[in-house]
Each structure stands twice: as structure tokens, then as C-alpha cells.
């Protein structure tokens, strides 16, 4: 049975695609109702997505984070869960323009990867390893949300400075909210991610007596950690307005994607 052959995955994909189209449609048509429909579609997709995550756990007997389709499905799930929590708290629609396509992309990768359900290698059956996978995944989701809100803060700052309303003006919350959410998401996400990496190093040390191997995912994860550390320092210094901060965010985002895509390599 391949991962791509399960109905709930396709149902989730279909709803996510509709939700993303509706959200992007509202951006261009300025019809607010489309945003509501988009959110409802995404929530329906999230329910199916949750079913899919449950299916993986039931069939493999472990959290869905051991190969590429499992990891992308789980990261996408956590990203949307955090986005939903933030929407409930701040009613921010603008982040959906970034987050919905990201969630759709992650789940699409999960679907097209078509890898087999991975029975867990006995060597990986360890609480430290599970903690490593869960913490890094949740940390990545937090940091991606931080980058999304950081981008919104940058856009809002430019619009206010240049006295020119862009397409996002109506959808973006206040500058203070964007700054606060991006900083908190980055700070919390980074701390969890760091704890996850440390757990990974510890597990690697225990099993191979070495700190870590230097494969794609490890290099990607370490590069992402360094970039996010610098990014966090920029935020603490109040330099989210600088173009180099935005560039750094983009690089950190790519590094995270490389780490996720390289999970099986």
C-alpha cells in the first residue's frame, strides 16, 4: 500500500486546493466572502488531513515523521494548526496567502512522493529519536509561521512608509500584531527546533557514537538553524524592516525545505 493511495489524503488535497484558490481569489477580487469560504475549505481539508495522519500512525505504529511523505504531511498539518490558532486569536487573513499554498505544497509533495509506509527500523525505536522528530517538526512549523508574519510586517511597514496601499493592505493586521506574532513564533519555534536538534545529536551519539552524519537533511537542518538564529537576532534588534532580513528569511525557508526534502536521504 503506497501512501498516495489513501482517499483521505486526496480529500484533504482537494479541500486545500479549493481553499487556496478561494483565498488567492479574494486577494485579487477583494471579495471578502471568498476568504471565509477559503477558510472553511481549509478547515475541511484539515479534518481530512488529520484523518490521514491518523491512518499513518495506525498502520505504521509510530508518528508520521520517518520518511519524506510522512514528514511533509506532518509539517503541513502542524503549520495549518498553528495558523488556525493564530486566526482564532487575531483574525488574521493575510497570512493565509502564504500559509495555505505552503500547506498545499507540503501535502502535494507527500502525495506525489508515493513512498511505501515505512515500518520503523528497530534502531529508530527510541524515545529520544521520537522526541527529536516531533520537536524539530513543530519547531519548523513555528518558524515558518514566524517567517510568514515577518513578511507581513515588512509589507505593512513599507506600505505605511511609502503611503501607498498595496494589495494586502486590507488583509494585514496592525504592524504591532505582525511584529509580535512573528517574533513569538520565531522565538518559540527556534527554541523547540534547537531542543529537537539536540535530541537528534544525543540519539546519534548514543547509536553511532558520533555527533551526526553529514547527509542532506543534517546539513540542511544545521544551515536552517544558523540562519534562523541570525534571523531571530535581527528581530530582537528591531531590524525586521531591512531587506536583508527578508532575504535571510527566504534563505532560511529554503534551508528548511531542503532539510525536509532530504529526510529520506
Amino acid at each position: 500500500m503506497t501512501l498516495a493511495a489513501t482517499d483521505t489524503l486526496y480529500v484533504a488535497l482537494a479541500f486545500y486546493a479549493l481553499g487556496t484558490i478561494a483565498a488567492l481569489g479574494s486577494l485579487f477580487t477583494k471579495v471578502k466572502r471568498l476568504q471565509h469560504y477559503g477558510l472553511l475549505m481549509m478547515i475541511a481539508g484539515f479534518v481530512a488531513h488529520t484523518g490521514w495522519i491518523g491512518t499513518i500512525c495506525t498502520r505504521t505504529g509510530h508518528p508520521p515523521i520517518t520518511n519524506l511523505p510522512e514528514a511533509t504531511a506532518f509539517v503541513g498539518w502542524v503549520v495549518f494548526a498553528v495558523e488556525l490558532a493564530l486566526w482564532i486569536r487575531y483574525r488574521v487573513y493575510a497570512a493565509s496567502f502564504f500559509v495555505y499554498p505552503l500547506v498545499l505544497l507540503l501535502l502535494t509533495i507527500s502525495a506525489v512522493a508515493g513512498e511505501q509506509f515505512a515500518p520503523l527500523n528497530p534502531g529508530l525505536r527510541s524515545n529520544v529519536f521520537t522526541a527529536h522528530l516531533l520537536l524539530t517538526t513543530i519547531g519548523v512549523a513555528g518558524m515558518l509561521i514566524g517567517v510568514a508574519f515577518g513578511s507581513l510586517a515588512f509589507i505593512q511597514d513599507r506600505a505605511l512608509k511609502e503611503k501607498r496601499r498595496g494589495r494586502f493592505w486590507e488583509w494585514i493586521p496592525s504592524l504591532d500584531v505582525c511584529k509580535r506574532v512573528s517574533y513569538h513564533a520565531l522565538a518559540i519555534g527556534f527554541s523547540i527546533y534547537t531542543a529537537g536538534l539536540l535530541a537528534g545529536i544525543l540519539w546519534s551519539y548514543r547509536t553511532t557514537a558520533g555527533l551526526m552524519e553529514l547527509r542532506v537533511k543534517q546539513v540542511g537542518a544545521m544551515v536552517a538553524w544558523v540562519l534562523f538564529a541570525v534571523l531571530l537576532k535581527q528581530y530582537i534588534a528591531g531590524e525586521f524592516r531591512r531587506k536583508r532580513t527578508v532575504l535571510l528569511s527566504a534563505c532560511a525557508f529554503v534551508a528548511v525545505l531542503v532539510a525536509i526534502l532530504g529526510i529520506s536521504r
Binding site: 505593512q156 505605511l160 512608509k161 496592525s174 504592524l175 500584531v177
Partner: protein
Amino acid sequence: MPLILVGLNHRTAPVEVRERLGVADSKLPETTSALRSIEGVDGAAVLSTCNRVEAIVSTRDEDSIEAIVDWLAETASTQRAELEKHLYILRHGDVVRHLFRVASGLDSMIVGEPQIGGQVRKAFITALDLGTLDSVLTQLYEQTMRVAKRVRTDTGIGEHAVSVPYAAIELAKKIFGDLRGLQVLLLGAGDMGELTAEHLHQQEVKQVFVANRSFERAQELARRFDGAAVQFDRLDDYLAGCDIVIASTAAPHYVVEPQHVERALDARKRRNLFLIDLAVPRNIHPAVGRIDGAYLYNVDDLQQVADANLTQRQQKATAAEQIVTREVDAFRKRLVAQDAVPTILELQQRLEQIRAAELEKCLRNVGPMTAAQRAAIEMFSTQMINKILHYPILQLKYMSDEPQERESLRRTIRKIFGLR
């Protein structure tokens, strides 16, 4: 039940006429009761704002219009002929459309202004409390409020400010979100600055500090905003502690220079600072706008924001009109269908009586039969009656919204089927 609206507004009557007819809040119940007591009027409400006065009634016959115009002339203490030049008289579906548009802000002087929704609600609530609303006006009121809410939610027509002080507040909200807990520094005592500070005070900012060359004037203004007067030469100290600065002095030079703002932002740990320069000549050096964390808007910038918002509202009005048109049609159909219910019921009862009587006769003549045979005959007679009634009921349900045409159709159907 015919609906009638007689009134005048800012487009049909000058302020001298509107103020004579305007009804003070305290007089609204008395005026509404007086309108209801006019012969032929079954339900009444009075809408009175600074831009319009309208008598909304449901009535048995349209002759009441003359009496309503007389009553309005008497209320305004003016000649009927003089008042009639400014009045508009709307009937039936036009009343529904007009009220939907008024409550949605589409008929306002500034399109989309939000206060009118509350004023319409107040007019109908007053009438409801007095018991002067009949079932038609009650439904009209409920639907009007629903439509107004839908228009505002779906189009966002009233979301953005169209005046300079409100544009400043809208921008402050885009920077800080919630304005409660913020500190405001008002420099000078210019009218526009005072007005903006007043609006900010209404938004429940934490504190308003007033600095003016004349300390007495500063104290006087500070009292209005429950704030504090400060010495002008302590500008640096207060600039660091305040989140919003409004400059509105008569000084012919810059009062706030970039170095002031740099120092303030350092002291504030680079927390955002919103500077509003409403003075001409300007009081805040334009280079301040280039400092990270400082957002500077002068009076022209704010006017541009207000103008852009107004243009946007006008664009949104097109979508709002489409919603109103759909809602008017739906409401009209509902009213017409309700109006037809008594006749439809009577028609069904009458034909059922005929069917039952004729069936009884038929069964007596035929003699003994099985239960299945009897059921088949009963079903046949019921289906035949339903088929006969189908088109008359359809006609009654989808009649014209003109009461006279409806009455004429009703009378014809009653005559054909021998209803009393």
C-alpha cells in the same frame, strides 16, 4: 397592505426646511404616536436625522397620503404648498428599496457612513415600544436591519475613514492595533489637531498630553481630554513616552527635528512612533519620515488617504446596490405570498367542502365497495381538486406588488370560485 413613505432629505430640501421638520429625540415618541393616529394608518414610524425626516406607514388606502402631508406641514409650521416642493412620496416596493438603501448608508451624504444604521434602528425601536408597528412594518424593520448588516459585512462599504481626523485614527490602528493604553502628545492648539485629539480621546487612549506656547491654553485643552498640560520645552521627555504625536502649532518653523525623533526612538527601544503633522507651515521635519520606526503623515497625506477611501466606498456602492436589489425582490415576494395566504386557505377549504359533499353523494349512489376501491375514488377526487387549484394558487402567490392589481386578481378569483 400598502406601504407609504413621505419625507425629505439633504438632496430635496435645504437645511432651513429640514430643521423645521426635524424631530428631537425627546419628541420622537410623541411624533410617532401622532402619525399613527392619522385616519387609515395601521402602522407608523418616524425617521429623523440631520439629513432626513421620513414618515413610514402601512395603510389601508392611499388617501392617507394627503393627511400625512397635511400633518407634516402642520408639524413644520409651514404652508403645505411650500413643503410639497421638497417632499418625495414612495409606495410599496419603492419604500422597501429606499429603506434598505438608507439603512445601508447608500442614500447618505457621505456614502457608507455608519451612523444611519443606528438611527433607522432607533426610529423603529421607538415605534415598536409604542406599539405603532403592525406586522408588515415589523417585518420591514427586521429585514432592513438584516440587509444593512449584510451590505456592510459583504462589501465593507463603511470600513475606511473619509475625513482627515478619522484617516489619522485609521492609520494609528494600522500601526498599533488597539489604541487603548497608548499615550498621545498634542503640540499646539490648532483646530484640526484638537479634533484629532478629541477622536483619539474617544478611542480611550491612556493619556493625552498637551504642550502649547501658552501654558494656560494647554491646561484648558488638557482638561477637555482628561489629560495633562506640559511645558513646551520638555518636548524631548514626552516625545519618548508618547506613541502618537499630533503637531498643530502656528510656528513658522519645524518644531520636531529628526534628532528629537532619533533620541525618542532610542529611549523607546525602537517601538513605533506615529507623527501627524497637521500644521501649515509644517511643524515636523520631513526627514523624520525616513527614520526606521517613525511614521510621518502630514495634512496632504491624510487628505489623500481620505479621498482614496471615498473613491473606494463609491466603487463598493455598486456591489451594495446589487445586494439591495436582490433583497428587495426577495422581500416583495415574501410579502405578496403572505398577503395571499388567507385567500388560498379559503379557496382550499371551499373546494374541499365541495369535494367531500360530492364524494359522499357518489359513494351513496354506487353502493357497497371494497376499502381499496373507496380509497382510489377518494384519491382521484383529491388529486383533481389539487390540479384545479394549482394555477389559481400560483397566481395568488406571485401576484404583482401593486396592491390594487393584487386586490383585483383576488376579487376575480373569489368571484369565480364563489367565495364570500
